[in-house]
Each structure stands twice: as C-alpha cells, then as structure tokens.
Symmetry: D2
Subunit: 482 residues, 4 copies
C-alpha cells in the first residue's frame, strides 16, 4: 500500500480517514523495516497479521512464486497440495545448498533473507540470555541429538580424523550417547560424583576424572569432551568452566549439550564461561523446541569462534527443511524483546513454587526433596518408603504410569535397576545417572519454560492423592501377607 497514491485510496473515502489509516499502516511498516535493519528482537511483538504479510512478501521473492515463472529444473518448489503450500506460506525451497547449510539460494532469495535474519535474531537472543561470547549461530533443522552428531562429524573431519574416543560424563539420556556411536566413535563413560557442586545431592562430573581419562586415552586418540548442562535432578549442570579449562590445556575440542539450558540463567552463565575460556574449540548445542516453545525439530548451534561454527555449517550435506526456521522466526518476533525475559522470570517463580509445594508434600510422607539447588529447572523428591514397601516383584516405577493416567505429563519415577545394555555399553540404574547400589527411588518434576499457571499446585495436589492411594494399597497388601 505504501506506494499507492493517497488520492487513489481516497476515492469515495475522506482523505482524513485514509490518512489516519495510512499512518497506522506506516507504523507497522516501520516495525518491519526496523527488524530488517537492526536485526534485534522487536520492542513490540508482532501480530499474526504482520507475520503473515511479511512471510507472504518474502515468499513472493522466491522463484517458485514468481508470476509466470517457467520451471525446467528438477527442483522447482512445486507443491501438490495447497494445504501444504499454505502452511509453509509458500516458502518451499528450504534452506542451504549442497555446500553449506547457511548458503543463500539463488532460487529462493526470500527464504534466504528470512534465514539470515533469523540467525541474527537468534544471535541477539543468545546475547540477551547472558551468553555474550556466543558467535552468530546456525539453526539446524534437526533435533539436538542429530545436532550433536553433526558437531562430532565436523570435529572428526576438520580436526582429528583419526581420533577414536569421546570423553562423556554420564547423563542417562539415550540420544546424547547415541550420537557418539553413530559418529563411529567410542564413548568413554565418566561416572558422576556427589559433592562437586553446591547441591549436596547433586550428581555432576568431577573435572579431575576428565583429566585422568584424557591422560589415560591420550590426546591424540581423544576427539573431544561432551558434557551437559540442563538435565533431570539429581543430575546437575557440569562445571563447564573447569572442563573448558582442561580442554584448553589439552588442545581438545569441547562440545556442550545445553539442551534446554537457554531458559536457565545458570546454564547460560556456564556455557558463556566455557566459550570465554576456550573460544576456538567450544561448540554449544541447544534445542529450539524446549527453549523456544516451538514444535520438535530444530537446534541452535553456536560456538566460541565464527570459524568453528562455520565448519559445522559446511559439514552439513545439502539442503535442509525450512520449517524450523519458519517456526523460530514467527516465535521470536511474536515474543519480542521482553517476551523471552518474562518467560524466564516466570519460570523461576514457578520453580520456586514447585519446590515449596514438594517440600510440603515430602514432609507429609516422611520423604525429602533432594538438595540439587544447582539444577534450577528439575526437582526430585524421594520415594524411599514407597519403594521399600513394594512386594511381589512390584516396583515403585509403576507409579509413573499411574501419574500419567491422571493427566499429568512429564513426571518420572525412578528406582534402582539391574544393568541395561545400550549401544554395547552396560549401565547400572539407567535413568538415575548413577551406579550407586544405594540409590534411592524418587520422582522428578520440572518447572520448564511455559509451565501453566497453577500447574505446580495442581500437580502436587494430584500427586498427594496418588501417594495416599499407594499407601493404602501397600498397607492392604501388608495386612494380607500378615
């Protein structure tokens, strides 16, 4: 509308009405312009309409949408279903080229502009989150596991093709482990310790054990160290700063799985330190779905140096889906500058609320909330008495299914188990992050980004009911037995 003469718009409509309308419209256009020029999260969140119009305009810049275009290639961004075309706003060509996932596409100028604009917005988000050392990231349209795999393949290819081992402080989450074996590498599992970090029940890696392993396997044979920030309590963030220093000393790359750590200032601080200390060889991967509340299927890869991040971009073979990009872009402009900050603040409040509620509950059942104060997202409350009272081969972990059936999603119940063999490695108590034969059963609950208002209270209320029922059931069993 910008270029339309006002007198044409004002046919049959008074000038002064049209002018006020155009002023409002030009404020909107100014917002778009500011975003493209400044490349920072917008002050004012964008409305749905603004987003749709903007994406439509970008799509019009892609060759598949050129009016009258004749396509004689093998890949022309044709779409069979209009339903499919619409849900991608006509942005069909995805991102990247054979050579590089961040390479602009000649056939898709609009998609390419959107891609690079979004990377700049993500960069500004990382800085806002307290990671000023983060370099301009890549948005990889794969979940975190595959993102870590791409980092490993990059390091192997560009850094140390003959290395065999990856030092891996234990974290009982399969995809982190799997990305090592999928890359054709051998994980060196480092068991965790209590007493390393501030929480007295927290399990984290003792940096000394990492150094030992490096020495044992030899820097020539070790590709890198992978460690973890966000995780289920009692696992707590690894001391990334100390590990970075060790890697720096040994000239080893350091790969951090900051899965859902963007929402935690503590995790952000740790990865920032790591990149500050060991800039040239630290890579950090984080999930888009967990941190940005978008559908599963994207990760943000940043690192301490542009060159390193670029190597990852260049390792990716071929073009990639633009769907994660669309979701992330929309979310960032609709959150706006304060949106993310407020979500993080709100999350902290809910974590405190959940903690307080769990403390009350633990009291009632003579259990305790584990002191994992350095894990600022996930909490664990013991289920010792419930575990010990099980009979006939029952296990307290059956409570997990009961909880889910009560319309509670995401709570986990863990108790000791025999060895699990996974990818050729044997783990004791898999899921508990520890091989301790004395490990006490517990239930996990997290206050993650976007948790519903009142959900902490409602959860504990329902859990209380479930535990009471379980007490009754166990009491009955005991009586029968007697």
């Amino acid at each position: 509308m910008e270029s339309v003469p006002v007198e044409a718009l004002s046919r049959h409509v008074p000038d002064r009405y049209v002018e006020m309308g155009l002023q409002a419209l030009s404020r909107r256009h100014a917002m778009v312009q500011r975003l493209i020029v400044e490349r920072k999260l917008p002050e004012t969140p964008w409305t749905d309409d603004m987003v749709v119009s903007f994406l439509n305009e970008l799509a019009a810049m892609d060759a598949n949408n050129f009016e009258g275009v004749i396509g004689v290639g093998e890949r022309e961004g044709r779409v069979f279903s209009q339903l499919v075309a619409r849900r991608s706003y006509g942005l069909i060509h995805g991102i990247g080229r054979s050579g590089d996932i961040t390479a602009p596409q000649p056939k898709a100028a609009g998609s390419s502009v959107l891609h690079h604009l979004t990377l700049d917005l993500l960069h500004s988000l990382l800085v806002d989150c307290g990671i000023p050392t983060a370099r301009r990231p890549i948005l990889m349209p794969t979940a975190t596991g595959l993102g870590l795999l791409m980092c490993l393949l990059t390091l192997k290819k560009t850094h140390k093709p003959h290395a065999k081992y990856v030092i891996w402080p234990r974290i009982d989450q399969k995809s982190c482990f799997k990305c090592i074996t999928a890359a054709g590498l051998i994980p060196i599992v480092i068991e965790l310790d209590k007493g390393i970090s501030s929480g007295k029940d927290s399990l984290t890696v003792d940096p000394a054990r990492i150094e030992e392993a490096i020495v044992k396997y030899g820097t020539g044979e070790v590709l890198c160290v992978i460690s973890t920030t966000s995780c289920f309590s009692p696992r707590a963030p690894d001391p990334c700063d100390k590990i970075a220093a060790i890697c720096h000393d040994h000239h080893l790359p350091y790969l951090i799985n900051n899965a859902y750590g963007l929402q935690s200032t503590r995790c952000c601080h740790l990865v920032n330190e790591a990149m500050r200390i060991h800039p040239d060889s630290t890579l950090v991967v984080q999930s888009t779905d967990k941190n940005l509340m978008v559908p599963v299927g994207g990760c943000i890869i940043t690192g301490g140096s542009d060159a390193l991040v670029e190597k990852v971009a260049k390792t990716y073979a071929g073009r990639a889906s633009g769907q994660a990009l669309i979701d992330v872009f929309i979310t960032l402009v609709q959150m706006g500058k304060d949106g993310y900050r407020n979500l993080v603040k709100d999350r902290k409040k809910k974590y405190e609320e959940l903690k307080a509620e769990l403390y009350k509950l633990a009291d009632e059942f003579a259990e305790r909330v584990l002191d994992t104060r350095d894990n600022t997202i996930s909490l664990a409350m013991t289920l010792r008495t419930f575990d010990e009272a099980q009979m006939d081969g029952d296990t307290v972990s059956n409570l997990g299914a009961k909880i889910f059936r009560r319309n509670i999603s995401g709570a986990r119940v863990l108790s000791k188990k025999k060895a699990t063999v996974f990818e050729g490695h044997e783990f004791t108590n898999f899921g508990m992050h520890t091989s301790d034969p004395q490990a006490v059963a517990y239930v996990n609950a997290a206050a993650a980004l976007g948790m519903g208002d009142g959900d902490a209270v409602r959860f504990v209320h329902k859990l209380r009911k479930i535990l009471k029922e379980e007490e009754k059931r166990l009491a009955k069993q005991t009586m029968k037995r007697a």
Copy 2:
C-alpha cells in the same frame, strides 16, 4: 518491504539474488497499485497470498487494529474469538453508517477503502457483462429478497408514500412475492401467457396485461412494477424493454429481479434495455451467490440513475455486515478480467450439452423438452406419461425426493396441484407459474454458473435410471390392479 533498504535485506545474501526477488515483489505491488488506481478487474488473477496481504494491510488501517489504540466507545470492533477475527481478516467494523450504507466510517478507513473499491469493481463487472447503462451499484449484505424489499421501501418513502399496489407478473418463488407484502403493499398478480416470447412453451407476461392493470388500479395508487428475468423453465425472462417503456409512459418506477441473470447475456441485455429506456426509475437487483459463486447473503443493486441508487443506499438503516464485501472482493480479484467471461462461456456450453442430453432422454421415454429457448439457463422435460400413470393418490412429484437421494441436487419435479394460499393470495399449480388446468408435469434442470464438467451427462444418465425404475414400478402396479 518496499521501503526497506536493499543493503539491509542483502545482509549475508548476495545483492543479485535479493534484487531479482524484489523485482518479483514489486511486480506484485504494482498489481495492487493498478487495482486501486484503475478500479477494474485485474488482468492477472490474484493469488491467495496477495489477497491475504492486501486485506491485512487494509485491516491495519481500521482503528480496532491500531497498535496501542485505547477504546472508550461502545463499539470498538473488539473480537472475543481469534478464530472469528481471523476469518474476517481483522475487518470487524462492517460497512456503512447510520445515515447510509455506503458512508465511509472514520473508525474504519481500511474497510471503507475496500468497500468503495469493491463497488467500483462491481460496476466494471456489470459493464463487462453487457450492462453499460448500469450505474455504480450498491452491494447490500442481504439476499435478493431483502434487497428487493429495500428497493420497495425506498420507492415508497421517496417516491409515492401513499401508493398501495405493486404490479407483479406471476413468478412462483416465494421471496419475490413476500417482499411486497412485507413492505406493507398489495401485490396485483398478473397471470402469464404463452406465445409472447420466442420459445413456444415459454411463459412470460404479456405487456398489455401490465398496462391494463396500471389503468385499472390507477397510477396514483400503483407504486411500481416488479418483473423477473432469470427463472425456472417454462417461465422465461419478461420483456423488460417493453415493460420499461410502459412504466416510462406512466411515470412508474420499475423494479427488476435479475436474480441470477448476470450469468446470462440475454438477461443482461434485457435489463440494460430497461435502464436505457427508463433510466430515472429503473432498479435492478441481482444475487451475489448465484452470479459470483460466493456464500449466500449479498445482492448487487444497480439502477439507471445514480440518484436513484443513492436513495436506496440512504434508506438502509444503520451499519451492515462486511462479510459479503470480503467474499465478493476476494472473488473478483481472483477471477480477474477474463475469469467471469470464461465462466459465462463455459456455462453456455454446458447449457447446450444439457439440452442435447435431455432431448435424447425425452425421445427414449416419449416425452419432450419444452421449447423455452429464451430461457438460456433452465430447461424442462415433460413427465406426462409418468404423471398420468400414478395410482392411489401417488404423485409424480415424489420423484423429486428420489432424485435428491441419488446425490443430485437442484432438480425439481412439478405437477398440477390444487390451490395454495400464500400471504393471503391463492395460487393454482404453485411452482408451475401457471393456473392452466391442463399443465403437464415436468422436471427442471439448470446449467448455472460453475456447473461441474461432465455433470450434465452424469445427471441425465442417473435420471434415465430413475425413470426406468419408475416405469417398472408403475407397470407392476398396473398388473396388480389388473
């Protein structure tokens, strides 16, 4: 995007890619600009994206969408459901003001621009359809019946407040009749004749009968004449040119129900003649749903003089729904200049196809297709033998339901009936447009705008089956009786 500096867009993306994209985009913007400046149906049909972006921009010009607007009125275009807001593209304020349905709204500049742009497009469509005498129309968000009623109320109020009668050549369609009684007027029913128009079975009004009625009831007491163009065969378009001349002589307004006549060049020619002959007092109403393939609920009111059309606009009390406007606008820009013309051409072909198929069918069953050649949309095939063979109080019109159950919509079966009393008037053979005691039963089928390819053949094929079954049923009955 127009006002964004290219260098900002080209951050990380080669200039030459961006420039080609911007060229495509500016061709699109030029299309929008051309529409607003020229106010004619576009050469190139608009894509969904273009439409959505354009409507979004207009909506941004309405006060309810102003960023940060504070509403302290009683009517602020607030919408509770986002689903509802979205389906109207944020265009909430409707059209018109208390004084006039075409009055622009200060709070809704965007809606007002859209409204007047659409009226201009409709005007250009009317001219394209062969009605150059049509003045800039109103789009009334009511179906045709209520549109006719508004015309009658306007004529009564502005022209002849004390008139009582409306001369009404019979057309067996309730809402046309009802709009007269709803306006507090008395219909003078004029029975129809054969032999007036070119089709030898066609039923139309003999202009002489209209003149007689005018003389009988007195020009002082008669408000106007209402007649019909498009209709079910054997009813055929009235000789509007001759009626217009009579009205002109008697200084009587003339109101034409051109319900679905825009799709017929013959009907368009007739209403054009009427407005040419009697410009100052001829009003023509046509349906948007039947002529433009939009949802029910709009009509286009035009007339031979701007002053007359404006009087109708000013009679409408208050604001009105903008939904018909949105549907019509979208449809017009997506049809484009050739779209409507091609639909009309295609319709003619299908009419010929349907006629040919029905002739074959009539032959097979010793029935005949009525010669109503001047009705270029609807056809009728007699069901004389089927009607005569009915027993036990059965009626051939039961076939109608059978046809519908075979997934055929819109076929009608009619046969003689006793008097129907409707709005205090008694009609013989209601639905057949004639009181002839010899009226022969028939089935109607129409080739209306947008008829599916192959549907004419498929319809007759299915009808053949149904008639064969009916023959069998009747034969069995006769045998039993014997």
Copy 3:
C-alpha cells in the same frame, strides 16, 4: 476416529498409548455431544481445533459438499474462490428459506442444524443474562437498525396495517430513527426529561408523555412505541417496565432497542420486566457485535411470546447470510458458560475504574462528571469551561478529532448546535438528546464489554494531556486578544 477399530490405529503403536489418546479424544467428542443434546453454553470452552472439526463435520452434511454430488439447480452453493470457501468452513447455503428465516434447508442439513443449535445457545445466554422471560430468539444477519425495521414491518403487516405513527422517545442515534421512516411510518418524537430516573443528570422519557401522545394520535393510528436501553450518557435507559404497562393498557406493541444492553444487568432487568408485563406484544432487539464481540452484522431478536418472534421470522423475505451465525456460534462455544459472566463482571469493574479516574480529572479542571448512575456503561464529563472559552467560531467539539488522533477511539465531544434536519425532522443539539438551550458541553467515554486492561487509566491520562494543551491554546488566544 470413533468408529475406527483400535487395533487398526495400534498398528506399530502400543495399545496403551493409543488408548490414552482415544480417551482424550472421546472426552472431546463427549463435549460435542453434550452441546448438541443439552443446547446450553458449554462448561469448558471449546478450542479452535474442536470448533473447526465440528464446523467441518456440519459442512459435510450440506449438499454442496456431498462427495460426487451433481448440481443441476440454479443455487448449488458453488464457490469460486477457495479462500472464500475456507473462511466459511464450506457452509455456503446461508440460512432460512423463502418462507421463513428460521426454516431448515433441505440442501443444507448441516447449516440448518448449526442454525437451530445456535438459537438454542442464544436463548440460554439470554436467560443467563437475567432475561428469563425472553423466548427463543432469532439471529438476524443484519445490524440492529435493520432488525428494528423488520420488527416494524412485521407489526405493520400482522398487527395494524393501517397504522401511521410510531411513538419515539428521542435518542440521538440516526439508525433508530431511520428505521421508522424507512418502514413508511411517521415518528412522533417525545422529548426527554431529567429527574425521571435515579441519576440526577440522566435524560430519559417521562412515561406520562408517552401516554399523552398515544391519546393525542389515537391507538388506531399508532403502530407501537419504540424505546431505548443502552445509550450514551447523559441519556439513560428508559423506564421500560412503566412503558410496557402503558402499552399493555392501550393494546399497543412495544419495541425495545436493547442495542448493547446484554452486557448490562440493569438493561437486562428492564427488558425482562417489559416482557413480563406485556408478553404478547413486546419485541427486543440487541446487537451481536456490541454484546458478543463479533464483527458487525447481526442482531438477536427476542420477544415475550413465541408467536410474536415467529411472525418476525416469517416476515423476512428469503434466504440470509450464515456469516453472523458462524461468528456467533464460534464465540459462544469458545466463551463457554462462565465466559460471558466473567466479561460482564470485568466490564463493571472497568466502569467503576473509569468513573473514578474521570472524577479525579473533573476535579483538576473544575468540571464535573454528570450523575447518570442509571447508565451503567457510558459516562460524561462536562467541558463547560473549555466550551465557554472558545473564540473565532471555534467549537469545543474539535477536541473530538484531537482525541482520535491520539489513538483514542470512541470518545465523543458534544456541545450545543443549531437545528439539524434529519429525515424531515428538525432536532436541536442533535447528539445531546436534548433541546435544552442551556445544554453544557461534555465528553463521553464508555466501559463497554471487552475494554482493555488499563485502558481507563491510559485514556484519562491522555485526555488530561489534551485538556492541558487546550487550556494553553485558549490562554494564548485570550492574551493575544487582550
């Protein structure tokens, strides 16, 4: 999914996952079923998905969406633009038939089911709002003005064809007045008085004046009385109970314009009383956009007796748009049972807040907030000093435009004016509801349904600034003059 065998769904997916999913789905289906069976606003608001799926299912019941249907009628619900079809969810046939706006359509079973379901929901809403005497209403897809017109035409046609006059207590809103003249009737304007109702500045009709007018013009010549509930302060709701009693005594119909009164318990109480006292001949019209926060273009017509409401339904000539129906249905199920109640509660709070803020402001400028306590939506603050200080033919009403330019929508500034001639009648101070030569200028602001949080404070804050600027401007002028 309901009828799909679980084992088919569970191919490759564990039964227990599928079963939990199906339970969730069947809770959703139960909600739909409950709505259709109970025909009351739902306990739990419906999500967008539920609404869309439900409307899709209903649309599938309309013949235009039958798989393989063959259309040979003139009106087959064909849609040219998919964008248009989509925004109506494929519900194309609108509502009603030639005979009656509430008549189900054989071709559109789904639309008809939706229509009648929505009427039942509206009925339950009216009762919930405190109008238990309201009968099952009509939803007319026209704004209030045309709804009132249809009521007048109905009364004229079915009740007293020869009546000429309508008794109309003055309300300075054009469409209310226009609907009388459009119906070919003559308004008898009754001037208002202060001191009739509780607010000492309120302007309402003195019932005695109505009785006088009835006597003066004769019950044979008077068609009905029209009065008003919701309106701009200092106009306040008319004493509908007393007027109803007078109409009852004189066997006159009573038509109430309850424009945006559903959101006010006071207005609801008044119209309920009127229908209780004079059930057989009271009709009440209310706007959908102002009361239900949907786009402009619908009104709800109810009355004290089913027979009377049905007469209105039967007066409407022909089919009508289904758009208002779709918007209203979606809104009602997404509001749910408590939704409307909470909106009304919230509105009251905001009215008190706005009042308090205006009192403060009035103090600062030595103006006063008019005591119109019986108008529980709209407020007025005098601008006496600003009005008196104008020079050079300036008028305080220029402030209105200044306020709008500050991104405030809906505030009105009124001051004395010469006679306005409208539809042949002369009004003094049109807009102020009074011919009082001493009428003091004022600014109006309303706390209507859906007002934004904090908007009352923000409005008064901005208004304060504007008034200060105006003070300065006037002071400067005075100095210059001196």
Copy 4:
C-alpha cells in the same frame, strides 16, 4: 457427530434432512476408517476439510492437547505462538524417540499413529511405483544428502566399523560427495564412460571399473558403493542391476541415491532390480520434495530387507521434526490412488514435448540434442557454436543468468572449466560429470513432476529469443574485432 443421537441433531430440523446429511458424513468417516484399516492410498482424494479434521483428531490424542493436562516435564509440547501451533495442527512432539526414529512416543499417540500410517502409505506408493521389492520405508525429516549420510553412518557402525573407502561413480552434485567426507570416509571417484547404456551420449559408470576399484582397495577396506539414478543429462542412471550383482558377489553394501527417481519408471525399475538381486544390503534414498511435491526437507529410505532399514532407523539419534510427515501425509491422501500415477503419466508426456521442442530449436541453430535416451527426465542441447564464439574471456555459462532473468528457473548452462577442488578432491569440468577435455557446452532442461502445462513450449520459445540475441551480440563483437 457419529455418536450424537439423531433426535438431538433433528431438534427443529426435519429428520429426513438430517439423515441425508449424516449419510454423507458417514461416507466421509468410512473413508477415514478405510485408510486406517487398509493403509493404502485412498481411491477418492481427501478434501482439505477431511484432512484438517483428521489431523485435529490425531492431535487431540497427543498429551500436549489433553484437556486440563498438567505438564511437569522438560518437554511438554508447549507452543508460544498460536500461529506456529496452528500450522502444525497441534502436532508438536515430532516423531521418534532417543532410541529410534520410528519409535512411538507415549506422550504423542496421535503423532505416532500418523507416523506409522504414513510409512504404510509410502510403502504402498513405492510398490505402486514399480518397486515391489522395497520394504516398509523410513521417512527421514532431512533432505537426501543427510539421508545418505545416515545410511553411511549406519553401515559403518553396524557393518564394517573399520572400513575407510566408498566407491563413488562420479556425479557432479556436491551433497552426494559431501555425505561421504562428512561420514569420515574417503571417496574413491570412478570416472564415467559413454557407450555403457542405450543413449549414445549418456555418461554412466562402467560396472567393470567398480569391480576393479573393489579389488584394488580391498573388500575389507571398502564400506560400500554409492551410485545414482536420476540426474542431469548427459549423466544417465547407473546400471544398478549390474552394480548390485557385483556388490552381492563381494558382500558389499550398496547405497543408491534415487534422488528424484520415483517419478521415472526407468529409475524405479533399476532400484527394484538392485534390491531383488542384493536384498540384504541395498539401501535406496529418495527425496520427498522432488518426488512428492512437498517443501524441501524429507527423504524416504527403503531397502531390500526390513532388518537393514531398521538399522538406519535405530542409528538416528533422538527425536525428529514431524513437519515432513505432515506434508507427506497430506499430499498422499490428497493425491489418492490415481493421483501419483497420473502425475507420472503427465510428466512423460511433457518430457516428450520438451524433447520435440528442443530438437526443433537445435536444428535452427545447428546444435544437437544429446542422445541420452536412458535419462527420461533431463535433456541437454549443445551450445557448441555459442561456446566457440565467446571472446575476451567471456563464457557461454553467462547465458545461465540471462535465462534466469527471463523468469525461467532451473535451466543450467555448462561448459568446460579448469579444475575445481572440492572437499580435497580435484574435479575437471565440475558440473559436466566428465573430465573429457573435448566436452561440449550444453544447456540442460528437465521435465520433472508437476511441470506446468505449456511450459515446455514457452521455455523453448524464450530460449530461442535468448539465443538469437546472443548470436547478434557475438556477431557484433566479431565485427568490431575485425
């Protein structure tokens, strides 16, 4: 609606209308049921409405959409932007689990059902395309390059961890090559030959050269052979049957890049043969965007044995995006059984048309269309004279940009070049698939799936103009030089 009592639906609407509507609805439900039970492409393509309702129902089975669900996990499928949620139909959890990309998710029963249903539909599509030996595939939400990489990593991990080499018949497309180096493997480039296949200008691999390489590098060191079907002319599909036999003899896995080969019966036949001959160790990867006309970002991985395909599924680390799944599902049900077949037929026709047009053009300019008859998608016409006439360091490949600027997308102009170094390997004439120092310049055009009607003619028409301009330009230059 299925479970709603008819009498509830029929409140105020005649039973017989409702029943016909319900019949139509139940035909629709039967279609859904049939799909889930039979797991084959539907006879009748699904409408948008059906798709949306079905996806809504599935989404309702995912825990993130459970009414009243309480989320206390770190990954609860929360979505910040409603725009984002909507475009994925509320299907947020993606696909797969840490262990396996095809593993159902307890939190996402609906997504899991959709996933496995879609895999079955894809399987039925592969069989329909003439690949009956294909086993139930994986849909990987990555483009082909990364799909090939995952296959290589799988083979390396599960088959021969210590292998170093991949035998790679040259195909000048970067991502195919890159996936080898990214996997940490060394490509053994096999140059191509003419005269191996039916087209006398076709370039394909001589199977004998593959055997030689295997022998040279040793079966212990060679991981697998990768070869190509669909490609740019004069490259033509490799003799996959013969290569499969060689791999079978040497117990080597065989990986085929069938990029856009599904649309070619010839490519399908070749990969089918390969899997028939060497079932246990043949994997085939094909693109979703090029073969199914969906946005970039998915590939279909199948193989000759279920066990092998499953190994790939299990190598993928972690969860993955569900976007490709949604796009593919929608497309398959909207294509229906005949849809794909018709697209392929239509493509063949367009290939013949394009070929005929190019032959005419070649004649006019004394060039020739290369005989690459075994490449049934892409064509090449020489530009020998244009290439030879270049001066001042100009190159005929500049024509490529000129063609693109004429709104033609996808044509490629290639001519001899010096060595290109890519991933540490040196290629002569990169893009031409041959190191032949005599290689003649040519322009490529393809008739790929979904090519627009008339585009072949329009393309050649425009190309003719461009070549004429180029002739003129070159003639002018020559004159100047003279």
